[in-house]
């Protein structure tokens, strides 16, 4: 019990402290940050990143990466808008169709990455281009506006005075947390990310597990696309640009290791908030968009750097580097002296 408590506390504590620090720092640069309206806006913005980040985290835990959710969002907002506005499909049915399609997009990535044995980076880089390309095939590549009056309440509506996306995030994170902690499938995701060879020799169906992680990532991108369509009451092939980076950033800032096997899903939620707060701070200070991209990239690089510095990934990298430099390997890692493991 004590062990599981500390396991929960430690990975989340760091990101939460970082979030507070970032919040305080942004608050110092502008009076408007702590205004209720602005915080509400931040929360709404973070909700989409957070939900897409669930899938990104799962894929990262398996030792892979998913670059496609931003493009999947563009494609799915177009399909949803087209279904509702042009084909007259009722909103709930359209949502169901989009969810099914999003699972298929994830399955496309998953099939190629597992049974097709193509590195996930390559598969999803290709998918990133393909999905957005298909998005432009709809409506001659033009956005579809004013889709339906029933959409915006799905995003801007409130329950008990609290914005609905807050509940969505809570529900999906509770599901993801339970899935990872309490199901064999969740355990296997950590296992294949931790040591794929050992997983195979332990009887785990590695392909199936990786495939499933991608399908879930497809669905969380699908949920993100539904929220995006609802929020903007429109679909556009230009939506979701950079969302994959925000989602990966949320996972990495939350402490997930890009080497796979390490990371806590709830930390991704905090990571999403950190990323959105930073971007909001830049917005409030009227920093040009180009600098916002530079900052996002910088945050991700910094988070990975810190992760490498403190984790096994670092030891691994140090060893590779050591080999290349012909110094033999140094299990002590990046300049640190560690006690012998015996």
């Amino acid at each position: 019990m004590r062990a599981s408590l500390s396991r929960l506390r430690v990975p989340i504590l760091g990101p939460i402290l970082s979030l507070i620090a970032v919040g305080v720092a942004v608050g110092l640069t502008t009076d408007r940050f702590w205004l209720l309206d602005n915080l509400n806006n931040v929360a709404l913005q973070a909700s989409i990143v957070a939900i897409v980040g669930i899938g990104s985290t799962l894929v990262i835990l398996t030792g892979g990466i998913d670059l496609s959710p931003g493009s999947a969002i563009a494609l799915l907002t177009m399909i949803m808008a087209q279904l509702i506005k042009i084909n007259g499909v009722p909103v709930p049915v359209a949502i169901l169709i989009v969810l099914v399609l999003s699972a298929l997009l994830g399955a496309f990535n998953g099939l190629l990455a597992s049974y097709g044995r193509i590195p996930t980076f390559i598969v999803t880089l290709a998918a990133m281009s393909i999905f957005r390309g298909i998005a432009f095939l709809f409506n001659n590549g033009s956005p579809i506006f004013s889709v339906s009056p029933f959409l915006e309440p799905l995003f801007y509506g409130k329950m008990l005075g609290i914005a609905l996306p807050f509940f969505y995030v809570l529900i999906f994170y509770a599901l993801a947390w339970g899935f990872l902690k309490y199901t064999p499938a969740g355990r296997r995701i950590y296992a294949i990310g931790g040591n794929e060879a050992a997983a195979r020799l332990s009887g785990i169906n590695v392909h199936q597990t990786r495939f499933m992680a991608f399908v879930i990532a497809g669905v969380t991108a699908g949920i993100g696309s539904i929220l995006m369509t609802a929020r903007l009451n429109s679909g556009s092939p230009n939506y979701g640009v950079g969302t994959e980076l925000q989602a990966i950033g949320a996972a990495v800032v939350g402490g997930a290791s890009l080497a796979g096997g390490y990371g806590h899903i709830l930390a991704t939620m905090v990571g999403a908030a950190i990323i959105v707060v930073v971007q909001n701070g830049l917005n409030l200070n009227a920093v040009p968009a180009s600098w916002q991209n530079i900052t996002l990239g910088g945050i991700i690089a910094l988070a990975v750097f810190l992760d490498m510095w403190r984790s096994d990934f670092g030891r691994l990298a140090a060893r590779w580097f050591g080999r290349l430099a012909g110094r033999g390997h140094s299990p002590g890692g990046a300049g640190r002296d560690l006690p012998p493991s015996g």
Binding site: R187, A198, G328, H329
Partner: protein
Amino acid sequence: MTSTASALWEVREISKAFPGVQALDRVSLALNAGEIHALVGQNGSGKSTLVKCLAGVHQPDGGDIRRLGVVVAMTTPTVARTQGVATIYQEFSLVPTLSVAENIFLGRLPTRARGSVVNWQRMRRESVRTLRELGIEIDPDVIVRRLSVAEQQLIEIAKAISEESTLLVMDEPTAALGLSEARRLQGLIRRLAEQGKAILYISHRIDEVFQVVDRISVLKDGRLAGGGLTPELNEDSVVRMMLGAELKEHYPKQHNATAQPALEVEGLSTDSGIENISFSIHAGEVLGLGGMVGSGRTEIARALFGVDAPTAGTIRLNGTSLHLASPRHAIKAGVALVPENRKADGLFFNFQGPQNITIAGLAALLSGPFLNLGREAKVSQDYFIKLDISRAGLDRTVQFVSGGNQQKIILARWLFAKARLLILDEPTQGVDIGARIEVYRIINELTAMGIAILLISSDYPELLAMSDRIAIVRDKRILQISPSRELSEFRLLEIASRGNQQPQGAFHAS
């Protein structure tokens, strides 16, 4: 006496502490020219730390290192190398995709006079010379990946050693080698000593040390526990120094074989080359597979574990015919493999002990669709107590427990998954002597439960002592199966290597 005026290299009163551990406590060693000096001790006794101090990886807190009486500061691995210390680590540092010559000169590629262009001719010429000096007959243009483990080990030495090297430090150089490869390597080490180099030879294997070295020093808990010239010592006395207590028996073998056949293999052939293999293992029996590296032992294990699909023959386990299309099918049928390389193929370093134990049998933890984590904690705790696993592994990831405890955790995994046939591939490699005996005890417990065991081991005394019967494998065939009490180490080696025409002390690239 630890300091002599004539010592080529000398370690004087070296101490090194890590947070919470005094890894080395005023250790002194004299390393004489032309002498092979063994450093033995259990895991965690400080051997590796001493190696790293010599290699410039760690800086000692106290004491110094001297060459011909002059203090030398090993501030970095590069400095240590230029000062003449060549270190060969247990894990290889070769780049598998580069050629032998490129690997030998990695990090110090010869370049043409003015620029940064590699001088390939010179590199090749000097590689040929280095290899010839060491008596290694390997083509310098061969890609390292194509070489056998034993050959790679030799390249590792060729790489570490240079003209200036006066001290060669080797950490478990024979750990990955079969008996005959180990012998050849030892021949090479002897020649290097005869050239006037000092050799520090780290090993777990006491019997091997006695065959190879001139002088032995024993480390225990970071202190020098004793030592002396090899002829003045015997195995028992060294083991006693390592353990600090008398060891009752090396091999606590129990005979638990029953009359009931568990595994029956008939006429098995696979694409990997094994041909017409037939044998059986009874419930509770340990069948040892004896043979050289490359004889076909591994291929037999792979076929039984569903890695290589059979092209002919049948495999039956407890009367049921098995069709093993993948390891997953094998595990479902009750076959388990404890791999030779437990770090790369066995352990999940992102998991603590309990998750490592239950991963192959998660279905047994289900309450409805969910894992019962309380039950997981409880059963793991039971295994930790039963197999005497260090409790550090309960709530820390398994990278922080010793090799012996790691091995026990993997064995617990297969106990939990209810394996009926366990394939143990070099189960005590890199495991210190105390934990080795634990592994033997676990083998006894497994067989007492009626589990059939296929034991692969290059450690022949271990194989002879722990097996009920031994199948000797050569050229992908089983030559004979006989009760292990009818075999001796000599006889086993003789049968396994009969017809081997390779000259001793020379190596050929395949």
